[in-house]
């Protein structure tokens, strides 16, 4: 058959299934260890890394400047005022948390569904989650006005006998996001322990041996340990799955519980979660494509991964499109004057351009092109689309926050929103911080889980005695 010949001709395809291979052929246990551990232990291109690091670090310094000025002057330096009292801080918070969600989806949900292709991308996707949550968590903290008393949000008896209001979604957020951050860090660290053991055993310098040794907690690979470890990983995955769904649901409650046209809808929780995963996968692609290129990891992060991530984006993008459609439909079907006006204003008002940017970036462009397998495996195209979706998802939050607020019930109180340079500096600064943290991660920690890749190799299959070629044993 003609198709079969084509299939076998391509080394990246598995002749049995015609699918892309998850891992390129020819890897052994030893070469997997070598490939991944050497990135950390015998780094090449340190000069290039330092260059990127200094650029990212300089951008991160913008954040320091912006936040220092904010602490000195107060939130008045931002563009937030009436009627748009929630500006960049909330937009960026939701955007960053959303990006984090793909990491948890990859590490937890795909583990439960036994999607072993995720093993290659799971470690750095999780790192992305943690760094994104770091960036996200900063925004509500610096937005509270007096950040030095941000701990009042916590139910601590020291806060002058005042207890928080447990019926408020804003407080639910405190619990959801802090739990999410904690569990993500724990899950990530537990996953790192065996690989840190490998680094400890391969490191040449005493200092590296000491550091990796301490953080690997003395891991020695006993199968009893492995079995408990596997159980704990599965349980953490099972716990992280409802957690990740609840986090963006609770964040959407911040909006949906308010009685405001454009916010007060029941579609928000599923539509926020799908949007989070959509933008998160886009960010994973944005990171994975340069990483595999720079570190020569095309054999471990293969076209299969890029293709599959494209498919996930197609699915979640479809849910997001349904969410947009349902918002428009409900604005009409509710027959509420305010809802109708809000939607008309969102599309054709003075800030209507932002709505059409969002429609183009999130729907018109990705959801028409991602159907083609040829485009899904075109690496530069996928990189482009990942950037576009990231921009689109940022605009989604901008549209939800700003265009719902700037023209409210009374025309006399209408206003507009124009972000100040401090808003932009804070946002760009978090991008720098994220990149800085990520560069540190790829330099000092194994970015692909070695033990999970080894499990997927053909030589990891345990054969019965009769199948063994050599007559080992008695």
């Amino acid at each position: 058959m003609a198709t079969k010949e084509i299939v076998t001709a391509n080394a990246g395809l598995d002749p049995k299934t015609g699918e892309f291979r998850v891992i390129a052929q020819g890897f052994s246990f030893k070469s997997v260890t070598q490939k991944i551990a050497d990135i950390v232990l015998a780094p090449q291109g340190t000069l290039g890394w330092l260059m990127f690091f200094s650029i990212a670090g300089s951008v991160a310094t913008l954040l320091l400047v912006a936040v220092t000025w904010l602490f000195l002057k107060g939130t008045g330096i931002w563009a937030v005022t009436q009627p748009v009292a929630w500006g960049f801080a909330i937009i960026n918070f939701v955007w960053w948390i959303g990006i984090g969600h793909a990491g948890t989806l990859i590490s937890a949900i795909l583990l439960l569904f036994k999607q072993s292709w995720r093993n290659s991308i799971n470690r750095f996707a999780e790192a992305m989650t943690i760094f994104a949550v770091v960036c996200a968590g900063m925004f509500p903290l610096i937005h509270v006005g007096r950040p030095w008393v941000a701990y009042w949000m916590l139910p601590l008896p020291v806060s002058m006998n005042i207890w928080p209001q447990f019926r408020s979604p804003l407080l639910w957020d405190v619990f959801a996001v802090s739990t999410y951050a904690t569990i993500s860090v724990v899950f990530w660290y537990i996953g790192l322990i065996p690989d840190l053991g490998t680094l400890r055993d391969r490191a040449q310098s005493k200092f590296a041996q000491f550091c990796y040794g301490v953080f690997s907690l003395g891991w020695r690979g006993s199968v009893r340990h492995w079995m408990r470890y596997e159980t704990a990983s599965l349980l953490l995955a099972g716990l992280a799955t409802p957690l990740v769904l609840s986090v963006h649901t609770v964040i959407s409650f911040d909006f949906a519980v308010a009685v405001l046209p454009g916010w007060h809808t029941t579609i928000f929780p599923p539509y926020f979660v799908a949007g989070a995963v959509y933008s998160g996968f886009a960010m994973v692609l944005t990171l994975a494509i340069p990483l595999r290129k720079v570190f020569g990891l095309e054999g471990l992060v293969t076209d299969r991964h890029i293709d599959n991530m494209g498919k996930v984006m197609l699915a979640t993008g479809g849910i997001v499109a349904y969410g947009y459609g349902m918002e428009v439909f409900m604005a009409w079907y509710s027959a509420s004057h305010w809802e109708y006006f809000m939607m008309w204003n969102r599309m054709f008002g003075p800030m209507g351009w932002s709505y059409w940017v969002l429609i183009f970036c999130n729907i018109a462009f990705p959801l028409t092109t991602l159907w083609s397998r040829k485009l899904r495996t075109n690496i530069s195209f996928m990189f482009l689309i990942s950037i576009i979706v990231n921009i689109g998802m940022w605009f989604e939050r901008f549209v939800i926050v700003v265009t719902s607020l700037y023209r409210d019930f009374l025309p006399s109180s209408w206003g507009t929103y124009r972000a100040t340079k401090w808003d932009y500096m804070t946002y760009i600064g978090t991008l720098g911080l994220f990149t800085t943290l990520f560069l540190l991660f790829v330099r000092f920690l194994p970015m692909i889980p070695m033990n999970e890749i080894k499990m997927m190799l053909p030589s990891a299959k345990v054969k019965e005695k009769a199948e063994q070629a050599a007559g080992a044993g008695d």
Binding site: K30, R220, A232
Partner: protein, 181 residues
């Protein structure tokens, strides 16, 4: 009756493939060995089965942790909202339990997750930065990389330096090494 040898933790055999390890581990377990363990660079479920390690207590710890988190948070929210700091908002009931679900749910997951992670480490006896096996010359280069180890420990009543070595060598491992304390 063989006697345990002073200063020796056990004998460790190094295998090239997981299949050889599983075969040897199963044979040793069938021969009555109990103080034994396998060491692998990635989880080999068959090896755990072979040495008779079928169940672990991590799920139980997780369940208990999760229930504790749930009860703690729900009770706390009720105490704060009803007794310690009642807030009358539009005449709504003080004991508005549906609103308490979200933080209680988050704490269930938080406590269950922390119990799973730290419970696993505690049951494994980690962190323990020293272990006699690290003294075996070939252990550290192989166990976390590409070799598979079976250790028969000196504390097992069947242990005998010569007999056990001969027993392990009958599986044609790469090497059999004494592990000193």
């Amino acid at each position: 009756m063989p006697v345990a040898v002073e200063g020796i933790y056990g004998l460790v055999a190094e295998f090239e493939t997981p299949s050889e390890l599983v075969y040897a581990a199963k044979a040793a377990h069938d021969a009555g060995w109990r103080r034994m363990d396998c060491y692998t660079p990635y989880p080999v479920e068959e090896a755990a089965e072979a040495i008779g390690f079928h169940k672990n207590k991590v799920p139980l710890l997780t369940l208990v942790g999760g229930l504790m988190g749930l009860c703690a948070m729900f009770t706390f929210e009720t105490w704060v909202s009803v007794l310690a700091y009642p807030l009358n908002i539009g005449g709504r009931p003080l004991y508005s339990w549906p609103a308490f679900i979200v933080p209680a749910y988050e704490w269930t997951i938080l406590f269950a997750g922390l119990s799973a992670a730290f419970g696993m480490l505690a049951l494994n006896g980690l962190p323990s930065l020293y272990h006699p096996l690290f003294n075996a010359p070939n252990f550290r280069t192989g166990a976390t990389d590409d070799k598979f180890f079976l250790c028969l420990e000196a504390l097992d009543p069947k242990f005998d330096l010569l007999e056990t070595r001969a027993f392990l060598e009958s599986f044609t491992p790469n090497s059999v090494v004494e592990v000193n304390y």
